[in-house]
Symmetry: C2
Amino acid sequence: MGAMTEAAIDNRDTRERILDAAEAVFMACGYDGASLRQITGEAEVNLAAGHYHFGSKEALFQAVLNRRLHVLNQERLRVLDEMEAKAGGAPLKPSQILDAFFGTLLRMAIAHGDRGQTFLRLIGRTLTEPAEFIRTVLSKEFADVLERYKAALFRALPEVPKEEIVWRFHFMLGATSYAIAGTDTLRLVTDWQTGAIDDDLERLLPRLMSFLLGGLRAPLPAAASPNPQPRGNGRTRRKKP
Amino acid sequence: MGAMTEAAIDNRDTRERILDAAEAVFMACGYDGASLRQITGEAEVNLAAGHYHFGSKEALFQAVLNRRLHVLNQERLRVLDEMEAKAGGAPLKPSQILDAFFGTLLRMAIAHGDRGQTFLRLIGRTLTEPAEFIRTVLSKEFADVLERYKAALFRALPEVPKEEIVWRFHFMLGATSYAIAGTDTLRLVTDWQTGAIDDDLERLLPRLMSFLLGGLRAPLPAAASPNPQPRGNGRTRRKKP
DNA sequence: GTCTATACCCTGATAGAC
DNA sequence: GTCTATCAGGGTATAGAC
């Protein structure tokens, strides 16, 4: 403890500084767009220091990601645990599950202010990164959480085929990634130069949630019919037995 | 005409060869992952030929994209025109509009076999590319189509605020991009090593369509209340005045 | 006009001195 | 642990061959 020399302090600071700078630059430029020289320059450390502490650009990105994703997913598990405990064995409602998964994400981002927004956009961006190794990282980090949430959804919607639920989970992830990847993408659809992006972040949650719920609980597609004209237009609802 | 010298023929072939090779490599490696040397090498042309014909890697990518996107969006406009003509002034049904937009995409892909699948994955991948210039390209290419389809949706859902429709359009684009970006992403959610991906492509359309329709027509979120617990769980429907 | 050869500066990565 | 030097590979630009 008294052995906490200046060198050791510097070391810890170097690592943290690199992580912080990397998060900002990755966020601003994407994985490929960011350069190690830019990151280490902003962190005011030597170029090789990045390689010394993390080994490679990929590993650095992975470290940046995990630092945030881990606490998010732990929180997601905690919330789900709490809900299931409170339900005492009864299946949860779909709206509860979606809120625990997607709501936790957005609420954590809102709670952390600007930093949270950066983190949110980074995640959104990352979920849409095509690089192979990134999806490997993600699938590992998300494996537990997704398994738990899928199970919860299976129980919540026993009349919906599991295959269908998995697909719809996938659709929901896509919609959410797009929504949080930043307003850049939104400009594809709209022309508003909404300066009020911060406002919109708070409104995003209810908006997104009703969309996701509507999609998750939509009438099932006609079984195995490859009919190109879906007929599920009306308000037909699946009847309970 | 008689002046169609060998040089001119070679010229056309060079451009086409570069485009074809670029499409394949971009598709396989993503934008950043692909290198001009790899592309020109596979096309068996000189490295600088790419730069001569297209000016830059970005411009080449843009050319690759537009070649496919243009015909897709033209078809989308044609289908919408046809529907609206047939409706004779009456608003279209949301299901028709979504089918014209998303169904046209998937049906064109299915109709073109393997080539179509490549094209589909390329588009899905592109829609999730974070690079700035790519979204610039996309927003130009999609401007007309999105404007037309937004207008159609506004007319189809007069009781839903336009702002909400735009958001939901955005969500739908995200869900679809994810769905078609390839099964790689799907492995995040599922463990099935489904070899039958081709089968699934045909089933994707009805699946996706019911999800999107459900989301588009979902009950509206509680107006301006930043309540984190969305209550739109039941089938409450917005009343007409 | 088309295409080639070549050079320039950037990137990520590594080895070895301190 | 930290830094310097150096490497192969990337996109880009240009001068010159046909």
